[in-house]
């Protein structure tokens, strides 16, 4: 009765898909290795034949330039990490990607803009900067947390038991809505943060690294926030509840944990982190629009996956890795290969990392931590 004709064809197709994937892997590794080697060669001998062929006129990177790239990658990456925490936490607890988390970040950045603009207008910005900084952080955290909590209550809670794609689609709608709501409220013009006062923003020398005060601020604030988060998650009862609910909602509720409240807390904490990230972004890049959340949002999600979704330390590590890769790869790998206009391709690098990680190592570098329901 059974015919075997189909077997060979479907088996063949699967094998060819696997072969194709292996080919991609090999191709990528080759590109990266060749690019890197070309870069190294170019450093030593700027006029070597390969460089002449692919990248004439380039001069390689100086040590200072490289350090600068590293610092910018690190500071950018720590902002990605702050945002990534929210993605990671929500995925760990509820098992879906909160597409609208990037918008929570943007709300923080916007709030920061409005507040700092007002402070500058009445002179407080220069006279009492640290107070202003503290205040805008508080306000941004307030509004982004508020956004995250309302989002959960209105759009996600009713869908708690739906198949996973439904909340994802809903979150796309929420993201869209928030983006355009902010556009409607504040208009399409790009908003500029005021400059940081000179005494903060000036270049400093720390351990042979030349680092702008702004970047230093970013790193410090990010580190402090991470520390705060670590403390909450590891040392407080709330944090323990969060970890329990992330592990297994049903059992956690049987243990007497108020699952709903804990989920709200999770969203709130993730939102707060994103709000801080928003402020830092605004201070760093000084421009915010309603679309500011999209790209960093996707990149932060990449970071979360790279570090292992659900894994908080991994999210930060992933963020830093991604930031560094984004900074360094165009100049260290692509340019020696003769790809013109590499700065444009910075975003393409991030997206490529996203695609590659999801294809080849979806559990991330440090291992994912999913709740028992979501583990495949």
């Amino acid at each position: 009765m059974p015919t075997h004709a189909i077997t060979t064809k479907s088996a063949r197709r699967l094998v060819s898909v696997d072969r194709f994937l292996t080919f991609i892997r090999v191709f990528l590794v080759t590109v990266i290795v060749v690019g890197f080697l070309a870069f190294i060669w170019q450093q030593f001998d700027a006029d070597n034949p390969f460089a002449q062929w692919r990248n004439p006129g380039a001069r390689g990177l100086t040590g200072d330039q490289f350090k600068g790239l590293l610092i910018s990658g690190l500071s950018q990456g720590s902002m990605y990490g702050l945002i990534a925490l929210g993605y990671s936490m929500v995925y760990g607890v509820l098992g879906f990607i909160n597409f609208a988390h990037g918008e929570v970040f943007m709300v923080g950045a916007m709030t920061g803009f409005i507040a700092s603009d007002k402070f500058q207008a009445n002179g407080m910005w220069e006279s009492n900067f640290l107070l202003c900084l503290a205040l805008i952080i508080v306000m941004a955290v307030f509004f982004s947390t508020f956004t995250a909590v309302v989002m959960e209550r209105v759009a996600y809670r009713p869908l708690r038991n739906s198949p996973r794609l439904i909340p994802l689609i809903t979150s796309i709608g929420v993201s869209f809505f928030i983006q355009n709501f902010v556009l409607g409220l504040f208009g399409p013009a790009t908003k500029s943060y005021p400059r940081l006062p000179e005494w903060l923003a000036k270049q400093r020398s720390i351990l042979t690294f030349e680092i702008a005060g702004t970047r230093l601020l970013v790193l410090v604030v990010a580190a402090v926030s991470m520390a705060g988060l670590w403390y909450i998650v590891e040392r407080t009862k709330t944090g323990k509840a969060m970890r329990a609910v992330a592990e297994d909602k049903e059992i956690a509720s049987l243990m007497g944990i108020d699952v709903n409240r804990t989920i709200v807390t999770t969203f709130a904490v993730g939102g707060a982190m994103a709000g801080v990230g928003g402020i830092l972004w605004g201070l760093m890049f000084r421009s915010v629009t309603h679309m500011t959340g999209f790209l960093p949002g996707v990149k932060a999600f990449t970071a979360a996956v790279v570090g292992g979704i659900g894994n908080l330390g991994g999210a930060m590590a992933g963020g830093i890795s991604l930031g560094s890769a984004e900074s360094i790869a165009p100049l260290v790998i692509l340019e020696p290969l003769g790809v013109p206009g590499v700065s444009q391709l910075k975003d393409a690098v991030a997206f490529t990392v996203l695609v590659l990680v999801l294809l080849f190592k979806p559990s991330g570098l440090f291992g994912e931590r999913l709740s028992s329901e979501d583990r495949a």
Partner: protein, 260 residues
Amino acid sequence: MSLLEIKDLKITFGGLDALSGLNFHIDEGEIVSVIGPNGAGKTTFFNAISGLVTPTEGDILFEDETIVGLDPSTVTSLGIARTFQNVRLFPNMTILENVMVAQHCRTSQLVYGALLQTKAFKREEREIRERAIEVLEFFGHRLVGYRMDQPAFALSYANRRRLEIARAMATQPRLLLLDEPVAGMNPIETAELTALVGRLRTEWGFTIIMIEHDMKVVRDVSDRVVVLDHGVPIAQGSYDEVSTNPDVVEAYLGRPVEAN
């Protein structure tokens, strides 16, 4: 040559041996029952054969070819079909569609035929439908007639179990794995299904491995019985041999308390 041969199968899940040292064979036309207390690894055994779980060690040979590491769909197309312990039908598809879709691996029409409505396509659709009805009619009047176009989730429990088996039959297997086919049925339904299992062998020519807890069914239908406990086979033989084996009794009931 045995139809299915299993050599030293070992399956470990995170430190726990779900199955170990399992040697098993079944010849064409046999009906073998696998019994054992809960957690003995019986469904894992089925999962290993049908490719849903990869063995840690050991080999599974079907018609003398190893099937370890193959995709579940490939295993099915080679001729092994199974039912699920917790009936997993396609709830929103009709009864007929459930059985039609099960013939996927025996048919071949794709986009081209569907779009151009070629003769081959129409013929195949007709054949699929006829075969599906043929399979459904095996269960009497219950699953045919106007019912065929009802969604599967509307079925009663017993009918769902029957549809589950019908679906497996429709894949045109040589080896049929039935996972607790009479679980939850009342005595009349059970007796009826027991007779059907016999007919699956005699009329349709399937070789059957059955996991069961209902000893009456096991006794009435099996040529041979294999007993698993904690992932290890502890007895094999006819029902009478196995049911009086002290190790088997101990596995189910525990050791008798020493009289004072």
